[in-house]
């Protein structure tokens, strides 16, 4: 009784082992060349793309200039991105102090603005004030 069982087991083992070897050799070839490398490369590219966000310079500069109060004229603007911080500097002229203060308040209320720096030295003059304002933008201004 043992002999047929032995022969049967041996036969199954041999057949299964040879099939397994064939499958494994196919898999190894596909694994290394096609999938792992491609997924790894894709991941690297996706991570590189997500590391940098599009800036919205046009959107911010036009919003500031189009929605400014009468009595404010802007003669220069600068945008700088450094260490994940975006800063807009505005240079211009205000007809008086009140208008300049209102302009600062308007800027502070914008959703994409994190902070507005208007040095007090800008208020030395009473009329026709040449001002310089630094606006720090929110990091995630959606």
């Amino acid at each position: 009784m043992l002999v047929p069982m032995y022969l049967l087991g041996e036969d199954i083992k041999f057949a299964v082992a040879s099939e397994e070897d064939r499958l494994r050799s196919e898999n190894v070839e596909i694994n290394t060349t096609d999938i792992e490398e491609r997924v790894y490369e894709l991941n690297k590219r996706a991570r590189a793309l997500s590391a940098h966000e599009h800036t919205k310079v046009y959107e911010h500069l036009t919003d500031v200039t189009q929605n400014k109060r009468a009595g404010i004229s802007i003669t220069g603007m600068a945008f700088d991105q450094k260490d994940d911080t975006e800063v807009v500097r505005l240079v211009g002229q205000a007809i008086n102090r009140d208008i300049l203060l209102d302009f600062r308040r308007d800027l502070e209320q914008k959703q994409y603005v994190a902070a507005v720096d208007l040095p007090v030295s800008n208020f030395a003059q009473n009329i026709d004030i040449n001002f310089s304002i630094t606006v720090t933008l929110q990091k995630d201004n959606e």
Binding site: L2, M5, Y6, G9, E10, I12, K13, V16, A17, E19, E20, L23, R24, E26, N27, I30, N31, D34, I35, R38, E41, L42, K44, R45, A46, R47, A48, L49, A51, H52, E53, H54, T55, K56, V57, Y58, L61, T62, T65, T75, G76, M77, A78, F79, D80, Q81, K82
Partner: protein, 185 residues
């Protein structure tokens, strides 16, 4: 030899043969059991290999289906040998927008923590009316690349009033932009 002694001798032989047979059968049983266990193990390994093959095939199929998206991801990078094409594109877009452009500097920066590729930096000076220079900035920011502006300096240059009675102010923009680029091969 006495009859009793002979009987004892037969009993001893019979006992020995019986013991040997029992041990032989036990060994044969153990050996066949081991072989069957080996076969079972090989069978489960083969099943795992089959499942792996199915999963790998599914992953390969997904890769094929994702090919358009993969190509799209690649297109957000300036090609390794397409720097000149990219600069030409910036200058062509300036012409289309009606602003004058002068490319001042082109450089390749390798970010310290970059996981892939390089950063191509382009500095240029653009001149034109307020609307035109702003539209150019808008256009550049929305080019189909992973592009961002690192600095802009907008200043009023003067007016273009030559024969016209209405002054047309000319604005000058110093523009520094960066774009991701495939690494040089």
């Amino acid at each position: 030899m006495s009859k009793a002694h002979k009987k004892t001798k037969y009993k001893f032989v019979w006992l020995t043969v019986t013991l040997v047979l029992i041990f032989a059968y036990g060994f044969a049983f153990w050996y066949v059991k081991t072989k069957i266990e080996d076969s079972t193990y090989a069978l489960s390994s083969a099943q795992i290999a089959y499942e792996q093959k199915d999963k790998i095939q599914a992953a390969l199929n997904s890769m094929e289906e994702l090919q358009p998206e993969i190509e799209k991801i690649d297109s957000y990078f300036v090609g390794a040998d397409n720097v000149v094409d990219f600069i030409n594109l910036l200058e062509q877009k300036a012409g289309e927008q009606g602003v004058s452009i002068e490319t001042k500097d082109v450089s390749i920066e390798k970010e310290v923590d970059a996981v892939y590729g390089e950063v191509l930096g382009v500095q240029s000076t653009v001149s034109g009316s307020w609307n035109d220079v702003m539209q150019y900035i808008n256009l550049v920011e929305n080019l189909p690349y992973n592009i961002w502006i690192s600095s802009v300096n907008v200043s009023l240059e003067g007016d273009d009033q030559v024969e016209s009675e209405v002054p047309v102010y000319v604005w000058e923009v110093d523009l520094a932009l960066k774009v991701l680029k495939h690494p040089a091969s």
